[in-house]
């Protein structure tokens, strides 16, 4: 899939959401202005839900909660046909939430994640917002949530808990986190696979700037242990497009390598290479039955949340 195709898909997705979602609170620029990570998480999640139509995202419990009116777009399997037979009106059955899943949020904390491009929000910040929002959402649903920060190795691991107060620990960790070190994702994934004894949902938030094969070997390891895996690949707009002018000496944030070039003269080749790289990741993820979501840091958080909820629903 080319970059433009990817963008088109993304746009289509976006259009659907734009109809309903109040995205003001999902804008990373807006979120970056909020000093409190809890506020960030809350803003993001509640902002996300406040714009939604009543939908199956309400919960995944088997215990009946109440009914609401059917709206186009709702899945028909949740329609209460008995009520329809009696009243000739469509109603959706709602259920009480019930937690039974462990979610591991793996946040890449390498130096490359601190790249901010022209935007004020770096990849690590965006990743932190996303992790916070997801944690908030998960803990609100009663899922046990674990946060793992890693670079070459696991830097910090917050074990999974389902208490609401656990959120504070996660958010505090995210708030005081500073990226550093080189990426060695494969090693981290293998370590995680070996140390987790309960299957669950693994959410990887990273720029995936590592050896692709080794990454997927690690992910396969997790899949082998019957974990559900979602990858959020976070990239900066400039990393994708290389919209720079003039002679620039690019210095690698992790290795310190230097390349001096005119970006305008290499732009086309670079974009092609990046697209190939991203396509390859997407294909490989598809082949491995791993949900893959590419996120540009200039985009709001809702895409990531939708992707998570969709996956979470499938786990039911």
């Amino acid at each position: 899939m080319t970059l433009s195709t990817r963008c088109r898909c993304r746009n289509k997705h976006q259009e659907v959401l734009n109809m309903a979602v109040n995205r003001e609170y999902l804008d990373p620029i807006f979120l970056s202005k909020l000093a409190n990570m809890e506020l960030v998480a809350r803003c993001a999640v509640e902002g996300f839900f406040s714009g939604l139509h009543p939908s199956p995202f309400h919960g995944f419990s088997v215990e009946y909660s109440d009914h609401r009116q059917y709206y186009p777009g709702d899945e028909l399997k949740f329609v209460d046909w008995k009520v329809f037979g009696r009243s000739d009106k469509l109603y959706i059955k709602r259920f009480q939430q019930e937690t039974n899943t462990t979610v591991y949020i793996l946040l890449d904390n390498s130096k490359s994640m601190s790249f901010a491009g022209n935007r004020s929000v770096s990849k690590s910040e965006y990743g932190a917002y996303l992790a916070a929002a997801l944690s908030y959402l998960m803990l609100a649903q009663g899922d046990s949530t674990s946060l793992v920060l890693f670079a070459e190795r696991i830097q910090k691991k917050i074990p999974p808990r389902s208490r609401r107060t656990h959120l504070n620990i996660i958010l505090k960790t995210l708030q005081h986190n500073k990226p550093g070190g080189r990426t060695n994702l494969a090693s981290v994934l293998h370590t995680l696979a070996e140390t987790t004894n309960r299957r669950g949902l693994v959410i990887l938030i990273s720029d995936l700037l590592d050896d692709e094969d080794s990454i997927f070997k690690g992910l396969s390891h997790l899949k082998f242990l019957r974990h559900d895996v979602i990858i959020f690949q976070i990239m900066d707009h400039q990393e994708i497009n290389l919209d720079y002018e003039g002679l620039i000496q690019f210095e690698d944030m992790e290795s310190g390598d230097k390349i001096r070039t005119f970006p305008q003269s290499v732009k086309h080749t670079y974009r092609r290479r990046v697209t190939e790289f991203l396509d390859e990741i997407e294909k490989t993820a598809g082949r491995s039955n791993i949900d893959y979501c590419f996120i540009d840091t200039s985009e709001p958080l809702d895409r990531a949340l939708i992707a998570y909820l969709a996956r979470r629903k499938r786990m039911k």
Partner: protein
């Protein structure tokens, strides 16, 4: 390829500039932390090599532009060998249309024979031939004619009066030869009667003409030549009753000439005599013409001398001679002497002068200065005074009017001048110089005047004065004179003092002869120089003259003493020999007609009527048959063939065609400049 200014090639060294700049250039950059260097590196590896390639290309382009500009300044010339199909046959035809070509031996004229011959020659030429035709008299060329055009040109060619101009013909070939291709075949054809006059011109050619081949054709009659001509005529003697013209008749033919020579003045047939001349003889016949056939008022007598018909060429049988008639003028001379018989000798000299020439009659009246009156002045044309007396002072006004109206006054210093009279005459500017004090020392006049061609005195007489050795006549004293501002000292003593002063006064003039009181006037007047001196003081002697010009020269008629009416005009209308009206340039001393046309009369169309006779050059119609061997040798020397590769002069045409390469270079440079800007622009991206 070669270079005309090869030193500019050193300008190529300037390529060191861009090379050094290329080597020393360090681009400015900014640092930027980045993440995806592995993608950048793989992209940049390809791009960097391209960029280096572009850099190198840009450098090469700039160096090439510098080198090409240096080449452009060095003025490169390409040598291109022309294709065989481009080789043209170029013919230079020199056709003699001079007067001698009108000779006929009973059948067709030389000129007609020449035209027939040339037409045949043109018809036999190749189809892609180019003809350049010159008529030898005018020297005009018709260049680049096709076969048909050349035939038309030859058929419309006409005879011209005058001689063949060989130099113009040859230089025309040389100049045209510089522009033709080296491979072109150049042929020269010369058709003429090769009379001695033309032949001598070929003998005098210094620089040869280069051609691939040349051909000449002599148009000569097979019969004996029959032609006589008047080659010269001039006035030999003038008397009261008429004048004599010596007429030179030449018989350059092989037949004895028995002709009749007739002289006419206008329509009046004045004289006729038998002329018998053996072959190859030149003889002079005097022809006397009476003055009675010419009116008194006529300045010029147009004398037409002609031989009766009887030879093959009629044009040269008539000779035109304009004779300037002497003006029969009466001069009233009043001698006003201060003392008794003081001017007796001068009187005698004037009387002698009056009797000598037929053009001037001098009536002399001798009076005492005291008797000088207005009546005397009214009678006189010239007043000669010995000394300056009181009477002259009292008559200053009358004398001034006399000179203003055209009279001439001559003062001889004989004794102490009357001071008041001298002052009055000086202040009224009648006196050309003021005698201040007498210098009593012996001196001698110069042998010749200071102003040799001064209008108003007898310049011819000055030569006679010199012949009589005036410089050996001692003068025992002279006056130190202060000349008027506009006076001219015509003659000096050997010590540098003025001898004769002249001043123009209106239409007249005044002269002061600085003789002394010790009888130096007597010394001069009793010497042999006296008559010539009188003639000098009275003015130009009007002699009989003749004016005859050759048709290839400009006409210049002296008009110093001719009155053209009110004021001096700058031009006059004349009718030339062909009957065309023209403007002649008129100056103070001469009337000039630049192109008289053919032969005949050039005549002014306004009064007074001036004539000039225009005739053929003397040898033009010398129809002596040329010696073929001599002509062949002379033309072999004039036309060099088969040397076009060896000769190095400017006229030599190389075996290859030269083409300047600067146009190609300019286009290449423009293209490279565009390419350079494009590449440089791409590089900035």
């Amino acid at each position: 390829m070669s270079f005309l200014e090869w030193t500019f090639l050193f300008g190529s060294i300037a390529i060191a500039g861009p090379v050094l700049a290329h080597m020393l250039a360090k681009p400015r950059f900014r640092r930027l932390p980045f993440t995806m260097l592995q993608f950048l590196r793989s992209s940049q590896t390809e791009s960097y090599s391209r960029r280096r390639l572009r850099d190198l290309l840009l450098l090469l382009l700039r160096c090439a532009i510098i080198v090409l500009i240096a080449l452009l300044f060095a003025r490169p010339v390409l040598y291109i060998k022309p294709k065989p199909k481009d080789i043209r046959h170029i013919y230079y035809l020199g056709l003699d249309n001079s007067t001698s070509m009108s000779y006929t031996d009973g059948s067709s004229s030389y000129f007609e024979q020449m035209k027939d011959s040339v037409v045949e020659y043109i018809l036999s030429a190749e189809t892609n031939s180019v003809f350049n035709i010159s008529s030898l008299v005018s020297g005009n060329w018709s260049y680049g004619l096709s076969k048909q055009q050349a035939l038309m040109e030859v058929k419309t060619l006409k005879l011209s009066t005058g001689s063949a101009n060989v130099d113009v013909f040859l230089s025309g070939i040389r100049n045209s030869g510089r522009t033709i291709n080296a491979a072109d075949e150049v042929s020269v054809l010369l058709v003429s009667d090769f009379t001695p006059q033309i032949f001598s011109k070929f003998l005098n050619v210094q620089e040869p003409v280069i051609a691939d081949n040349y051909r000449y054709e002599m148009i000569v009659s097979s019969k004996p030549i029959n032609n006589a001509s008047i080659i010269r005529a001039q006035v030999a003697d003038a008397a009261v009753d008429g004048f004599t013209i010596n007429v030179t008749v030449a018989n350059h033919s092989q037949i004895r000439q028995n002709r009749r020579l007739t002289a006419k003045i206008g329509t009046y047939e004045a004289e006729s005599l038998e002329v018998t001349l053996p072959p190859n003889q030149v003889k002079i016949w005097p022809v006397h013409l009476e003055s009675s056939s010419i009116s008194d008022m006529q300045l010029f007598a147009p004398v037409e001398l002609s031989l009766s018909s009887g030879d093959g060429l009629g044009t040269d049988d008539t000779y035109y001679l304009a004779v300037r008639m002497p003006q029969k003028r009466q001069t009233n001379l009043l001698l006003a002497e201060a003392a008794e018989d003081e001017m007796f000798l001068l009187d005698m000299a004037m009387q002698t002068l009056s009797g000598r020439g037929s053009d001037r009659i001098i009536w002399v009246r001798r009076i005492k200065v005291g008797d000088l009156s207005t009546t005397n002045l009214e009678w006189a044309d010239v007043l000669v005074c010995s000394g300056i007396t009181e009477r002259l002072g009292t008559m200053t006004g009358e004398i001034s009017d006399f000179t203003e109206s055209g009279g001439r006054i001559v003062f001889f210093m004989t004794g102490e001048p009357a001071a008041s009279a001298t002052n009055q005459l000086w202040q009224s500017k009648v006196l050309p110089a003021l005698p201040k004090k007498i210098i009593k020392e012996q001196t001698f006049p110069e042998n010749s005047p200071c102003e040799k061609e001064f209008s108003g005195v007898g310049n011819v007489a000055a030569k006679a004065i010199a012949n009589y050795r005036i410089d050996r006549i001692p003068v025992n004293g002279f006056w130190e004179c202060l000349p008027q501002q506009d006076s001219v000292c015509l003659w000096q003593y050997q010590n540098g003092s003025g001898f004769i002063y002249f001043r123009q006064l209106g239409n007249g003039s005044s002269i002061l002869a600085n003789t002394s009181a010790d009888g130096s006037l007597g010394s001069l007047t009793k010497s042999s120089v006296s008559i010539a001196l009188c003639q000098y003081l009275l003015g130009e002697h009007n002699q009989i003259r003749d004016y005859s010009f050759s048709c290839n020269e400009r006409i210049v008629l002296p008009v110093t003493d001719i009155d053209f009416g009110t004021g001096r005009q700058k031009s006059l209308l004349v009718r030339d020999c062909d009957g065309n009206k023209k403007r002649a340039v008129l100056t103070d001393s001469s009337l000039m007609v630049l192109d008289p046309g053919s032969i005949g009369w050039v005549k002014t169309l306004t009064e007074p009527e001036l004539y000039a006779g225009v005739n053929l050059p003397p040898d033009e119609t010398n129809m002596s048959k040329p010696i073929e061997q001599q002509v062949h040798e002379a033309l072999n020397r004039v036309f060099s063939t088969g040397k076009r590769d060896n000769v190095t002069s400017a006229d030599i045409i190389g075996t290859k065609e030269q083409k300047p390469a600067w146009i190609i270079l300019v286009w290449i440079i423009i293209s490279l400049l565009l390419l350079e800007s494009f590449v440089a622009n791409r590089l900035r991206r």
